[in-house]
């Protein structure tokens, strides 16, 4: 993987948000794909692999924590950044326990989010190296 160009998956049920953030990422030449549900995300994950996932915690149907669990099960090295509108510490801690990289409260500063994405990508690369060496 190219740390400068991580492959991103955005999972958010709010279409306007999803659309805009994907557009902005693409503008910065980031390979970003958007899906609007956890179910859809898992389907896509079966076909492709991603470096970093940005995941909305509160979603109808399969919620963020559930989705996180599944992602970590199928592809443990993929880093997940959680996005939440109400920043409940509980779900934040739970997410971290389940292996999320970090969480950000909406409305998020794009630059801040972008910075976290890069950090997550770096970590993934480090982990991959270690695995390969083992």
């Amino acid at each position: 993987m190219n740390p400068a160009k991580p492959k991103l998956l955005i999972i958010d049920d709010e279409p306007d948000f999803l659309e805009t953030i994907v557009k902005r990422l693409l503008k910065r030449q980031i390979d970003a794909t958007g899906v609007d549900s956890g179910k859809e995300a898992l389907r896509v994950l079966q076909e492709q692999s991603f470096d970093v996932v940005i995941l909305d915690v509160r979603m109808p149907g399969m919620d963020g924590i559930e989705t996180l669990k599944e992602i970590k099960k199928r592809s443990p090295l993929t880093e997940v950044i959680m996005l939440t509108g109400h920043g409940s510490i509980k779900s934040g801690i739970k997410g971290m326990e389940l292996g999320a990289f970090d969480y950000v409260i909406k409305p998020a500063d794009f630059e801040e989010l972008f910075e976290k994405v890069n950090q997550a990508a770096e970590r993934k690369m480090l982990h991959e190296e270690r695995v390969r060496k083992a």
Binding site: E14, D16, F17, T20, I21, K23, R24, K27, R58, G85, H86, G87, S88, I89, I105, K106, P107, A108, F110
Partner: protein, 555 residues
């Protein structure tokens, strides 16, 4: 004691109930014991009287029997001729008197009633008794004990006469009994100051002199008693006075022995105990009344205290659940608002991205676009701060132990109130202790307390004033303190003790619940600290919150 007003009914009920339950047994026992005792006592008195009457009656009977027997022996051992001789008679009389001093004189009477021989103090020799009743009875019956009469000597006396048949002759030996000695026997039955004893015959004529009221040989104002055997004790209204009398008929003569006791006198000890018992009962009743009043008051006081504690607890619970509900509401709202905000931010960001590459930098509207985009972003951030603060407040509902930086907590709390203070021209000054150590406590609860007190301070000042917040640390007592002072009107002395009471408020009806300080007080207490208030009326008030300094590095 004002609160007791509401419990007046209960108070009365308790007093009346305890009094009834306590007094009834006391009175019953007291009364019962008295009745029992007086019954026993009365029986005793009656028994004593009966014994006395019976003993006396027996003694008198014995006396008469002895006389009769002596005289009979004499009569059957002497002859008429022997006794006719006065010298002999004298010798015989002396002999008699050796046996009993009650013989006053002796006389021999022939069958015609002539007093043929006489030894004694009176001039009776030669008198004829043939018309006397006793003479007839003696001749008929063989002996006679007479009633008391004055006779030929004009002095009250009674005689005992025995008849002897000697061949075709009969003669009578007659003696007079010394009434003084005889009365002495009867009077031995008198007891105490008011006791009396006397003999009456079948017609209620006194045979002895009673102690009170009555002359020898006069009639007594008594009902006529039928002859009965044994001794009878009765309570009778005799001579205008209620008395206990023992009555016994003699066996040897138809005389009734009357032993009278002053009822009042014999009952005196009983009355004494009755008064004593009444005094005791009265004392007991007094003690009981006082006791039940005190008990009732203590019970009601305890009830009042418990009620207040419960009210405070309820208020606290209510407040907690309100806050919890509010927290959830706040979280929900924040989330619903954050999502649209996020979208706006992204859209505006996108616009910014596009603008930077579009060659419309030359367009005169570019500056406007750019400016508008920046402003939108800025205000989105501003809205974000509000929702985040709201979320921060909502987050801290569960009681926790955590490291608390008092200075920071107070600053965060002030952030909520900045606008309000500014709007009212109230200046808030802070004098924080540098490097105030952190302690272990519950920051959300502390924040609640500071919010409450600061709000009160703002309300007190109302417009144009000053609020000063100081923090500090007392090494000696291992405590942190934070004091909030305002220069409002202060708290009057008479209200100082009430401000922490639940539901106490000086605000108008509908403004405020009166719970703020009560809950703050209980929160701080539970956290191991205390709240003090100081106020100089007219110069403002200072609330000081002290918290224990807990150094637990594991949290």
């Amino acid at each position: 004691m004002e609160e007791i007003g509401g419990y007046k009914k209960l108070y009365r009920k308790i007093v009346i109930t305890t009094l009834c339950f306590a007094m009834i047994p006391l009175l019953v026992v007291g009364f019962g014991m008295h009745m029992g005792f007086s019954g026993v006592y009365k029986a005793r008195v009656v028994e004593d009287l009966r014994s006395m009457a019976e003993n006396r009656r027996n003694a008198i009977d014995l006396f008469l029997e002895e006389r009769l027997s002596q005289l009979t022996t004499l009569v059957y051992t002497q002859s008429f001729d022997q006794l006719k001789d006065e010298e002999h008679l004298n010798r015989v009389f002396t002999l008699l008197q050796m046996r009993s001093k009650s013989y006053m004189d002796v006389g021999i009477i022939d069958r015609d009633g002539n007093h043929v021989a006489y030894i004694g103090p009176y001039r009776l020799k030669g008198i004829n008794y043939s018309n006397e009743e006793w003479f007839h009875e003696t001749m008929l019956r063989g002996f006679c004990i007479s009633d008391v009469f004055t006779g030929f000597r004009n002095i009250p006396h009674f005689i005992i006469a025995i008849m002897k048949r000697e061949g075709d002759q009969s003669w009578i030996l007659r003696v007079t009994i010394d009434t003084d000695i005889f009365e002495g026997m009867v009077k031995a039955a008198q007891t105490g100051q008011k006791g009396d004893a006397f003999l009456v015959n079948r017609l209620n004529v006194l045979q002895t002199t009673p102690r009170f009221g009555g002359q020898l040989l006069s009639k007594v104002d008594y009902p006529v008693f039928e002859k009965f055997s044994g001794t009878v004790v009765e309570e009778r209204d005799l001579g205008g006075e209620k008395a206990l009398v023992g009555l016994a008929w003699l066996k040897n003569k138809e005389w009734l022995l009357v032993v009278k006791e002053g009822s009042l006198e014999s009952m005196a000890p009983l009355l004494q105990t009755r008064y004593f018992a009444i005094e005791l009962v009265a004392g007991g009743v007094l003690v009981m009344v006082i006791g039940s009043l005190l008990i009732a008051r203590a019970m009601v006081r305890q009830l009042v205290k418990t009620d207040r504690e419960k009210a405070l607890l309820d208020a606290g619970l209510m407040q907690s659940s309100k806050m919890a509900a509010l927290g959830k509401l706040a979280a929900g709202i924040a989330h619903e608002v954050n999502n649209p905000l996020a979208i706006i931010k992204e859209k505006v960001g996108w616009m910014h991205d596009l603008l930077s590459e579009e060659d419309i930098a030359k367009s005169e509207n570019f500056v406007e676009f750019d400016d508008a985009i920046q402003k939108i972003d800025y205000h989105v951030d501003r809205a974000k701060k509000v929702t985040h603060r709201l979320l921060g407040f909502a987050r801290r509902m569960e009681p926790i132990r955590e490291q608390v930086d008092l200075n920071r907590l107070i600053s965060e709390t002030l952030a909520f109130l900045e606008n309000e203070a500014h709007y009212r021209s109230i200046e808030i000054k802070t004098e924080f202790y540098d490097d105030l150590p952190t302690t272990v406590s519950d920051s959300s609860q502390l924040q609640q307390v500071f919010l409450n007190i600061l709000n009160n301070a703002i309300d007190a000042v109302n417009k144009s004033g000053e609020i000063t917040i100081k923090t500090g640390f007392t090494a000696g007592e291992r405590e942190l303190y934070a004091s909030i002072s305002d220069n409002g009107p202060g708290i009057p002395k008479e209200l100082m003790g009430k401000i922490f009471d639940p539901f106490f408020s000086t605000k108008e009806y509908g403004m405020g619940t009166g719970l703020g300080l009560a809950i703050s007080y209980s929160i701080i207490e539970k956290l191991g600290g205390r709240i003090n208030v100081f106020s100089d009326a007219g110069k403002g008030a200072t609330f000081t919150i002290c918290l224990p300094l807990i150094n637990d590095k594991t949290i």
